[in-house]
Amino acid sequence: MIKIDRLTKSFIRNGAEFPAVKEVVMSIEKGRLVAVIGQSGSGKTTLFNMIAGLIKPTSGIITINDKDITTLSEKELAKYRNQDVGYILQGNSMLNNFTVLDNVCMPAYLSACKEEVRLRAKELLAEMGLKGYENEYPKNLSGGEVKRVSIARAMINNPVLLLADEPTSNLGPENSRKVMELLQKISENGTAVLVSTHEMECLEYVDEILKMQKGTLIKYRP
């Protein structure tokens, strides 16, 4: 359901063209948890940003449920980012001036889908083990708790694809385990999940492993 065909992204660096992602080909079926591993600077984040619709590729096609997102207008891309994909960014991506509940509800607020969104947000937070944290502010949460709020926020609009860029970075073993278990549960519920990581401990939860090496994607483990 997610197909990527010869996806390439080049940047200009020191006057020369630098290919951050080179002719990537991959597909992910719904209900699968796929990990992309690779060293820092291998192009994982650039790949994820293109799939999330945050950067326009230099060439290639990204198809989500038969919809080529590389041809979408700015307005259609915004809708795609809001409705079809949930993106858990690396690090702390909370909006610090909003409560935990409002952070989780934000994608729904932006798309004016406000019906019962707060109720759904509370249910998601409870699933993440964060019941009672609705009125807290992100600055009062631990790293692991922030990451779980990010997951809840990414799932608020029931996306078909969940992207998680280094979701366990800066987390201890216990919190890393909790986060990976949550992502595994989400994929078992039918959402396609793509995770980037360079922590080998996370790989035991995934169905397939791909490796990024200098912008090129190779199959590491089915």
Binding site: L89, M106, D165
Partner: protein, 307 residues
């Protein structure tokens, strides 16, 4: 001389001191039978029928209607009191010639004024010229008709007011320039502040884009924040300005040589609305620069800060 429609004398007597007042008071006598300047103006302030011994007191005199004021050891009854004019009339007292002649009996007047010919001297002749006669030209005719050694000086009403009008015009000009300078410099400062503030929040707007916000939604967020900040800032500025003028208006009047500075709500309302309009416009224009800065970047560049 030819060309005169009406003529009326006035006498000015300045006091040395008066129990009523901190400063010298100008006693102004007019002839009720021929006067065409003072009486109509006094009538416009209040219904008036000055009797012998009665005076109309200026605003700054510490005597109310019905009370007595004493000049040169001579008592006068206050029949009416003027509203504040912001001019010398605030320290003046108006009376008829008959009333001012009461001073003849004062010993102090005998020592300080030429009382012998009090009834035969005047300070000024008010001249109303006929239609078709130009006051400025007639002034010159008078000066030419009477040699300089007779110490007769002619001037028109415009000559009296021109100093004040010129002062107000000068202040208005300075005020307009200052206002323009302040608006430009404040707008530039606002633009810098907004751009710096929004720049510090790039990642926040990157998050909004990542969550599916459109560019016009992000623009709306920034402009709404700017409108609120500008509105609150405008209100605070107006309140503090009003308080400053209210508490320091006498000092302002003295330092800027503005004889009459009175601020009523109705008079100030147009300035308030104009100031709020400028505050809102300046804030929104400043925010537009920030909107442009955010909108032209690709979303991923905004979130790179947190990677």
């Amino acid at each position: 001389m030819e060309g005169i429609k009406r003529i009326s004398p006035q006498l000015y007597v300045s006091t040395l001191a008066a129990s009523c007042c901190d400063a010298a008071v100008q006693l102004i006598a007019f002839d009720p039978a021929t006067d065409f300047v003072v009486q109509p103006w006094l009538q416009s302030q209040d219904e008036l029928n000055l009797q012998y011994g009665e005076v109309v007191a200026g605003y700054n005199l510490a005597a109310d209607v019905g009370e007595t004021v004493r000049f040169y050891n001579t008592d006068f009854k206050v029949a009416a009191k003027l509203e504040k004019t912001g001019m010398g009339y605030d320290n003046s007292v108006f009376m008829s010639f008959d009333t001012i002649y009461k001073l003849k009996d004062s010993e102090i007047v005998a020592q300080t004024l030429p009382k012998d010919n009090l009834e035969s001297i005047i300070s000024m002749l008010m001249v109303d010229v006929k239609d078709g006669v130009t006051p400025g030209v007639y002034k010159i005719d008078i000066q030419e008709a009477y040699p300089e050694d007779e110490e007769i000086y002619a001037c028109t009403a415009d000559d009296f007011m021109s100093g004040l009008a010129a002062q107000v015009k000068k202040l208005t000009g300075y005020g307009s320039l200052l206002t323009l300078f302040l608006v430009i410099s404040t707008s530039l400062a606002l633009i810098s502040i907004f751009v710096i503030t929004i720049n510090e929040r790039k990642y926040e707007f990157g998050i909004f884009y990542t969550l599916g916000a459109r560019k016009n939604q992000v623009a709306k967020i920034i402009l709404t924040e700017a409108a609120i900040i500008s509105f609150v800032g405008g209100i605070l500025g107006i309140v503090f300005s009003f308080l400053g003028i209210t508490f320091f208006h006498e000092r302002i009047s003295i330092n800027l040589d503005i004889p009459y500075l009175d601020i009523g709500f109705i008079q100030v309302l147009p300035i308030v609305l104009w100031s709020m309009g400028i505050a809102l416009l300046a804030g929104l224009c400043a925010a537009l620069c920030s909107v442009y800065m955010i909108a032209r970047k690709e979303p991923y560049r905004l979130i790179r800060e947190i990677e």
